[in-house]
Symmetry: C2
Subunit: 412 residues, 2 copies
């Protein structure tokens, strides 16, 4: 990894610089809206859909809310249900990013920075390659970035990793090295690879270059949501009632909800919003203590170890040190919300059924917060009132085993 002291500053400008660097290599992913989900989020009690009974409620309600959603954004949900929060949702589709998740951004940025580091290429860096330990999206992201730059990638994965993940990583041309499944075993194997090959370590989240790369999705989301909001304002301007015709110019998003695992992406998105007035919240699973960032943020002490088997498998890691500085010490994240396993599944199911989009469980966590977390919903109702908030929701990835979906959605 490049020396952190040479990284662009951990600031909005740093994220902008990262964006220029990775622009040729990553997709500018779409930001989508969905009238049904926006209406559900603005209902007093958004329906779940995990079992037959609530399934009925869901379809009834969503058919109703679809009609309601067509009433238009200014009337959204507040009229007959005074306590419902009013939210308009904007979905950042990183499931459509290369390798199917936002991790491509950080990997391309980190590798690009490394290649520019004085002496790295001259010292044979390209031949020695890069290494990381990951069985998830970071493995594929680094493999892709390395291959595109003609650099060998060594990926340390537990022997027990799912065969399709191993195949996918090999598919991007990486050299997969197996290890035991404890973190000690993985780190020992990584150290061995580094010693043997001279490869440079590219960690998954705890580095400024990774943070800045992931943060680039925040800039795109802000721009695209602002354009959508402005277009909607213009489209409805002619329909405004004569009385109270005045309307403030479109101001862009009020809030972004992003998932938080190691915190690389969340801290990057927070940096991308610095100075914009957009509040950023972290979203976590509560299962078996996976809400480590929330607990750390609220107690003032970073939680350094997590052992959770939440279905949101991308969010099982504890918050890293660099992310902690951005998130907590600089208070660039305004707070955290957590959701349980059923709420994650319900949100994921709604995205499949209503948006027809494939997302992984980790990517469903922010929508679950918007739909089911009372604390967040009360905050929106109290602070945004009838005008409501424009809420950016990060769909962080879409890599899910199709074989596992049936099990995930099996009736309980």
């Amino acid at each position: 990894m490049a020396d952190p002291s040479t990284s662009p500053s951990l600031s909005r400008a740093g994220v902008q610089a990262a964006r220029e660097r990775i622009r040729p290599y990553v997709h500018h992913t779409p930001t989508l809206t969905n009238a049904t989900l926006t209406a559900l989020a603005s209902s007093p009690t958004p329906p779940a859909s995990s079992d037959a009974q609530s399934k009925t409620a869901e379809t009834v309600s969503s058919a109703e809310t679809e009609a309601r959603a067509e009433v238009g954004r200014t009337n959204g949900g507040a009229a007959n249900a005074p306590k419902a929060p009013v939210m308009r949702l904007y979905f950042k589709c990183e499931n459509m990013q290369r390798i199917g998740a936002f991790k491509a951004r950080g990997a391309f940025h980190a590798l690009g920075r490394l290649m520019d580091q004085p002496g790295w290429l001259e010292g044979g860096g390209r031949e020695k390659g890069v290494v990381t330990h990951s069985s998830g999206n970071h493995a594929q992201a680094l493999s892709l970035a390395a291959r595109q730059h003609g650099i060998p990638a060594h990926i340390v994965m537990p022997t027990i990793s799912p065969p399709p993940k191993i195949a996918a990583t090999k598919g991007y041309g990486a050299n997969v090295v197996f290890s035991g499944s404890t973190s000690t075993e993985r780190e020992a194997e990584t150290a061995r690879v580094m010693k043997e090959t001279g490869a440079t370590l590219i960690p998954p989240y705890d580095h400024p270059d990774i943070i800045l790369g992931q943060g680039t999705l925040g800039l795109e989301l802000q721009e695209d949501a602002a354009a959508l909001i402005a277009a909607e304002e213009e489209a409805t301007a002619g329909e405004a009632p004569a009385f109270f015709d005045y309307r403030a110019p479109a101001k862009g998003l009020d809030v972004i909800l992003a998932p938080c695992g190691g915190g690389g992406m969340l801290s990057g998105v927070a940096l991308s919003c610095e100075g914009t007035g957009i509040k950023v919240f972290g979203c976590e699973p509560s299962h078996q203590g996976a809400d480590d960032a929330k607990r750390g943020y609220e107690s003032g002490t970073r939680v350094e170890a997590v052992k959770s088997l939440t279905i949101a498998d991308g969010l099982r890691t504890p918050l890293g040190n660099y992310p902690w500085q951005v998130i907590y010490e600089r208070r660039l994240v305004s707070g955290f919300f957590s959701v349980d396993e059923r709420q994650i599944r319900d949100a994921m199911r709604l995205v499949y059924e209503r948006m027809k989009m494939v997302i992984e469980p980790s990517g469903a966590v922010p929508l679950a917060v918007a739909l089911y977390n009372d604390e967040f919903r009360n905050l929106v109702a109290a602070e945004a009132g009838e005008e409501g908030w424009d809420v950016g929701i990060v769909f962080s990835g879409g890599n899910v085993e199709l074989e596992a979906l049936g099990k995930l959605f099996a009736p309980e």
Copy 2:
């Protein structure tokens, strides 16, 4: 149903008239491209992905083809693989249509036409309502259209229908009436409802109003694909080699591949292309004789009964009489191609994994033809040569039980 003799003509102009009628009620769904799938279709042997071995091949190959796809549309696949067809794919996303399938178009058109029929409203038509027998997308489409117009809908469904489908139909406010599962029993029950309530029958496909409504998706696809093609031509114009710099103006799609069950949508799409020069092909499952339209088209005699349990459950019905006239007698469809169950599953998996989109098995059939049907692929290679064809692919719907996905994708 409105008297067919009063329907707009079965012509492109008729489809255009239908489009104006239903415009306020249905979505103009997006037309998307995907570099990886386009590159796979233009590979000599597109990989399947059903089992572990081919899964490896798939990920290797698609990682490679992703890079290849970035070379640009004019170089797509032809250079090192002289026998591969060159195709650029444009996906019409009717999975994002209201109720999750194109059927909303025909239902809104048929109902609108019925309401305008002289005497229908005056004769108490609105109070007597409408009726159909369907356990699929037509049931939900008619229920939605009826509710939006304040008309009761009676839906006859077999007692053994999946509970979520029953719940979804009830969710749109329909009165669900149960029957036995043979077609005789369903028709008898439908006749009873008509007699008892005076409700008007709205059949799923065999009526000009339904055909014209479904055909509207073809107009949107033609326009949006032409715009995408023109934008791409413009973007690459500057990069054209100095030698052979001449380029014909963008001409729009060459071909549309659409699924064929009862043939309402296929014949409507064919009408939407009349006089444009765009060839339309029907796509069917071959399983247990579900390729009835292909057999009928090639023998010159419509096949009137089908008994297939293909996973493409929307395509188990035989071709209707009105569709037959458009498709065969007027030769507005240029031919049919069929694919087996594994090819349908493989295409569906690629859409989930590569596009992150939820489609139902029936909706995957045209992509399966583009990827795996040698007859179609040889036709493209022979007729389109190195220049290739711009191919519209209809993703007809996205209504699939999540519980069933695991089973569908289980290793064999």
